[in-house]
Amino acid sequence: MHAQAARTPLTGRTGPYFGRFGGRFIPEALVAALEELDAAYRDALAEPEFMGRLDELHRTYVGRPSLITEAPRFARHAGGRAPARILLKREDLNHTGSHKINNAIGQALLTLRMGKTRVIAETGAGQHGVATATAAALLGLDAVVYMGEVDMRRQALNVVRMRLLGAEVIPVTSGSRTLKDAMNEAMRDWVTNVENTHYLIGSAAGPHPFPTMVRELQQVIGVEARRQTLALAGRLPDVVCACVGGGSNAIGIFHAFLDDPEVELVGLEAGGDGVETGRHAASVSGGGLGILHGTRTFVLQDAHGQTVESHSISAGLDYPGVGPQHAWLHDIGRARYASVPDAEAMEAFALLCRTEGIIPAIESAHALAGAIREGRRLGPDGIVLVNLSGRGDKDVDTAARYFGLLGEGSGE
């Protein structure tokens, strides 16, 4: 039985269920829309014209394939005298500055295909909101983005970008006023306006088919990175590191490696003040089995099943759930999930800025911190591939406050 299981490929696994996770815990009113979407995306991805159009936009608009950059100075500073090699998959160089555009462009094309005219989205860091607003502007769709009030404050730059791109940004004032509440509000909009509206979910979370569909739109990251690593290093990496909010950039880079058992996959969740303090966003490391936003997965919750507010310096990781495929990869032991506290992520953030001239998104800095840990473990023969999921322009305010860079002094 074990040999049989080992032979079943992990790539290409689709929902609705990943082991005991996934499914559709949603009102009946949305079933028709989810079935329409499920059929539309599967037809589209199997159709050469659709994939051709998506590929063309990747090449001529998004800037794919994104680069692989080796980070030797970062590796040396992080790893001491005998550092492992660290390779960065540069999703930060995509148009709009993160991996989110891969998914947004794909789903916006699907929206047109389904004959809908309006997209709505939730956003935390604002990167998915910007990506959605961008895709909508490009393809002539109306866009409405829900964003928690707290996040609008900490990612103000992205609010302006969305508005410049013609999207309406609606502040969400309920609950913790962050990503999960924005998602609640977007769901309420969707059930009301589903006839002309597509809900362009920004992560590999939510009800089926979103976790599978978003994975399929993001897996290009890993397909490219696997090929690029082979070309650059002559072999596969030992470890792949990615940050995990809802899990889209992580599953996007993991997927191509799922059936390479020699490659370890490590997801880095936001540890906030530390998982032991209860103030964190690490759903796999510190959550329980529950249902959030239509999917069964690991959720930060209290003894009664009420969602507990997540905490992270990174708005994009500040989510109390995780995509069901990650929960399953954790269950079967194919991927490992660890948490990175705010302070450690900010240290990695600063180090990449100064050693490589790259300002990463604070989300991605969690993956960099994971790469430092893994590199130290592997030593000089090791290769760590990191998904640099986004750039840090949106985070300069947070970083300025964190490092004290706005005052008279040097901030050192």
């Binding site: 949305l30 609640n184 059930v191």
Partner: protein
């Protein structure tokens, strides 16, 4: 008496049943239970006891505010069983599924049955995901009420009907809970489509708040479901006594409404 028997007794009186929702714990557990009793005194036939949840993504701002306050006050699923026991009318729990999932569906069903509950309405548990609940409900003789929506296909209407016991909940419009100025025109059509596939009573909820609207819906449905209007009455009241009086007055108006349709239909 079961929910279905109550709805059918109303039918034999030539009227629709009145079904009232209130979340337990708003503004506090004792007052919410007293308010449910006031609803029954005012003419509510069947109660829906809501369990407050942190992420009520099918509720509009009014019920969101009430359930948020209930959670701040510490309301738990166990308080729901207290309400079921003391409400004084057939009572079903209405809840987001994650709370039951966490409690454990078998234990939840056992405790609900022990409290004398009639069953459960599951707005975010579609029949496709409900095998565990169906088994637990059968073991304890509980009603299982699924929803149908304007977007439900004939196949899905049939699935919901096959999967339900007690009655079917027809969500009258596409949207979240809250009062509306007009009863949606889709409601009547949905009830007609549902009745083609089932003999179960079909009750209509979402957007009904006034006696006139109740009368209109009672003209084509077996039951009229009202939530936000009761919550608003309780929320707007300056003190507990006037809140309970206001809730009872709303129930009276709606109860007159479901009877007015009968007299219109009779003439």
């Amino acid at each position: 008496m079961s929910a279905r028997a109550t709805i059918e007794r109303a039918k034999s009186e030539g009227r629709a049943a009145l079904i009232g929702y209130l979340p337990v714990g708003f503004p506090d557990v004792a007052t919410s239970v007293a308010a449910m009793r006031a609803m029954v005194a005012g003419g509510v036939d069947v109660l829906e006891v809501g369990l407050p949840y942190s992420d009520p993504l099918m509720d509009g701002p009014l019920i969101q505010r009430a359930t948020e306050a209930a959670l701040v006050g510490g309301a738990t699923p166990a308080d729901g069983f207290t309400a079921v026991r003391e409400a004084g009318a057939p009572a079903l729990v209405m809840t987001y599924w994650t709370l039951v999932d966490r409690y454990g569906v078998a234990r939840f069903a056992a405790d609900l049955a022990a409290a004398g509950g009639a069953g459960m309405i599951t707005p975010d548990l579609i029949p496709d995901e409900a095998a565990g609940w169906h088994a637990a409900a059968d073991e304890h003789g509980l009603d299982r009420v699924h929803l149908v929506a304007p977007t439900s296909t004939p196949e899905r209407l049939a699935l919901a009907a096959r999967s339900s016991r007690g009655f079917l909940y027809a969500a009258s419009l596409m949207g979240v809970t809250g009062e509306r100025d007009l009863v949606s025109t889709t409601a009547k059509d949905l009830v007609a489509r549902t009745k083609e596939v089932t003999d179960l009573p079909v009750c209509v909820g979402l957007g009904v708040g006034t006696g006139a609207q109740a009368a209109e819906v009672a003209g084509f449905a077996d039951g009229v479901i009202v939530g936000s209007a009761f919550v608003r009455a309780l929320m707007d009241a300056p003190d507990r006594a006037s809140g309970l009086a206001a809730v009872e007055a709303v129930a009276r108006e709606l109860a007159a409404g479901v009877r007015k349709a009968a007299s219109v239909a009779a003439t």
